[in-house]
Symmetry: C2
Subunit: 417 residues, 2 copies
């Protein structure tokens, strides 16, 4: 099976004058700008970062939450070698004299509420998120008008291989949300959503489906923009309760009243709850559970990756939570096809507690669900790529045959008889 590294493919084609890497150890990261020798990845997955900054007093390379102080040589080149990194995608920055800045040698990715440098650490023997020699779907930039917020908004829509070739087929849809500090570019870029689905579909492990990725922020004109953190309190006062339901409400209205109708109008969808799923990561998982459980007339599948119905954590009473839809477990289990929760085992305590706590509550209440633990991964994209890789095969498995307009059936019959 021929394969290339996705990000080499995405960004590496713009090959400028090649870097003269000589006998440097390791290989340049696939996320580097073409021709850039640093950062480099050593065989044991340690990373060598390097930047020339003769006037700097101190340089630290920050990889997600980890910090690696650099050492200056006589030419003003600062270098740091990390400990072995987990495979997958990590945001990173150069902290110059206390100021966190992007590495000019790296591609940038929207995360942490800004454009950030990123590094892809290869995962030995794993290629489900690489661009392989299989039929490829497309990711489309789709603009639609949202009355809720009086604005044109952008969604990315994955269409599976063959979508254009056979215009008689209609498809189920997964609505898939990013996390806080990221946006609708997260799943296409950091998440590699298209290659994960292309590969699953090629192996017949997942049904062909559309995946819609929108920005999980919305703000109605004339209303205060609350942002997504707890509301500010007077100095010394205890933190205000974090009313996620209220915070996510404008986006919920956009999704239900604007986005879903726009997608069902522009694409050949199967526009019923049996063929519609909602999932998301971290904040997006909380949104998926809020929106999905408030609209079981719209969704039959729910996924929460490192975030779900447990909100920010704390006890959950499933007799009253989510408007009481889980109060009768048998009725809920008959009504909702799949509930999926995922978590990385190396995530921070509060994420583990929130997701594990919700898992325990579901279990105690007899709510059927899939609980997936990603070994060794943090609150980062490898956890969420794995979640999607586990979740997508569970979707739309026993769907009815695709609907066709009646004249198409006649046409097919005429031509095949």
């Amino acid at each position: 099976m021929k394969k290339i590294s996705t990000l080499v493919a995405i960004i590496g084609l713009a090959a400028a004058v090649p870097g003269r890497s000589g006998d440097l150890p390791g290989v340049p990261a696939s996320t580097n700008i073409p021709g850039q020798n640093y950062p480099r990845i050593l065989p044991d997955l340690r990373v060598v970062f390097s930047v020339k900054a003769p006037a700097a007093q101190s340089i630290i390379f920050g990889v997600a939450e980890r910090r690696y102080p650099a050492v200056r040589d006589a030419n003003g080149i600062w270098t740091a070698t990390t400990d072995p990194q987990m495979p997958g995608f990590h945001y990173y920055w150069i902290v110059i004299d206390g100021r966190s800045l992007d590495d000019p040698a790296s591609e940038t990715f929207y995360g942490y509420g800004r454009e950030s440098s990123g590094i892809e650490i290869p995962e030995a023997g794993v290629d489900y998120y690489d661009a392989k020699n299989v039929p490829h779907g497309e990711i489309r930039e789709h603009w639609y008008y949202a009355k809720t917020t009086s604005e044109w908004r952008r969604a990315f829509v994955y269409t599976p291989p063959g979508y254009d070739a056979d215009t008689s087929t209609r498809y189920p849809v997964l609505y898939l949300q990013h996390g806080s500090g990221e946006d609708e570019r997260g799943w296409p870029m950091q998440g590699r959503v298209n290659f994960i689905l292309d590969n699953l579909i090629a192996e017949q492990k997942a049904k062909p489906m559309l995946i819609v990725m929108e920005t999980g922020y919305a703000h109605k004109p004339g209303e205060p923009n609350m942002g997504l953190g707890p509301p500010p309190q007077p100095k010394g006062a205890p933190p205000a309760p974090w009313d996620l339901g209220k915070l996510f409400m404008p986006f919920e209205e956009v999704m239900v009243n604007d986005l879903i109708p726009a997608i069902d109008s522009a694409y050949r969808t199967l526009p019923d709850r049996e063929h519609r799923a909602i999932a998301g990561l971290s904040m997006g998982g909380m949104q998926a559970f809020q929106i999905g459980l408030s609209h079981l007339d719209l969704f039959d599948y729910l996924g929460g990756f490192s975030g779900g119905g447990g909100g920010a954590g704390g006890p959950v009473d499933l007799k009253t939570a989510h408007g009481g839809v889980m109060a009768d477990a048998d009725a809920f289990n008959r009504r909702v096809r799949v509930v999926f929760l995922g978590i990385g085992t190396a995530e921070p305590e509060r994420m583990l507690r929130s997701v594990q706590g919700y898992h325990d509550a579901l279990q105690a209440a007899g709510i059927k669900h899939v609980f997936y633990e990603s070994p060794g991964t943090a609150h980062e994209w490898l956890t969420w790529r794995r979640d999607l890789h586990e979740f997508a095969p569970l979707l739309f498995r026993d769907e009815k045959p695709p609907r066709k307009p009646s004249f198409w059936n006649a046409l097919t019959h005429d031509f095949s008889s």
Copy 2:
């Protein structure tokens, strides 16, 4: 006509906690990360840049080729106010102690061979590149396998409004190239190609068409990667001649042997020369003329924006240049529908000389062409947005009725009679 600023729409939806802009003069640039107050644009189009960097010894804001030294206040905040800027998109950087870095407050755009900060300066009374209340096409990320270079490559493909709704219509195609140091993201992001076409099509000023945007770099496995500059010479030797034909040849092979067949296979194109155009900006304009004039069996329309058949400048003998295809002007004029050259009047001398010189040579030889001068704009994206806005309406004007497979004609007839 409702409109929003494109880049506000692209990036501004991810509204985090809003910045507290108080009574600051001017408005935040639409290219800022949501919630960031700086850079700000004053009513006279001066820009106020600001960054906190207490430990820095010197800070200069660089906007394209212009430099604005900043002044430090007691809190370590550096600020610079520029002179009035030309409208349109400019790359910019913060030069900290001599090191050019991105502004964490800005979106990033691939240009100058790296991810760079960018600022959009509004253009009073001009909205042809904004997202307006008109039907919108899509931009699709399309992957195809190039045998020439043995790799999966990514193209962006603009499909016009209605492409999916009426599957009986076939479309002409414009192949549109970026410039040196940029890549296939340039036209969709900095160029706003989709909104320019959406608006032209809505006003019936341009025919609905597909636009294919690929990376103008290609490298065959096993061959030296020459990059795109003149070959290195021994110290003191005169610079080696810059053989553009040879440099662009791998990409020419990719386009002719891989990309065009892939597009004609995946999309409902009108796959003949009468319905195919090629254009590009700067280096991409040189590529368009090289590839177009070498393959007049494939292309009927040629566009060069700040770059064309004159290569890097110098005298052009049209009796022998381009394989002699222009030696007989009448024959050439009968054969090629449109030749378009564009230049910004404020471009650097060498660009002006090269494009003006080629324009003069065409004129002297009697080669019909359109020569467009963009008033006051530099070697930057506003020149190229204007070029596209002038060029697209000239394309495919007297095409024959769209071809339909014969059974569709029958079907249409059956249903309409």
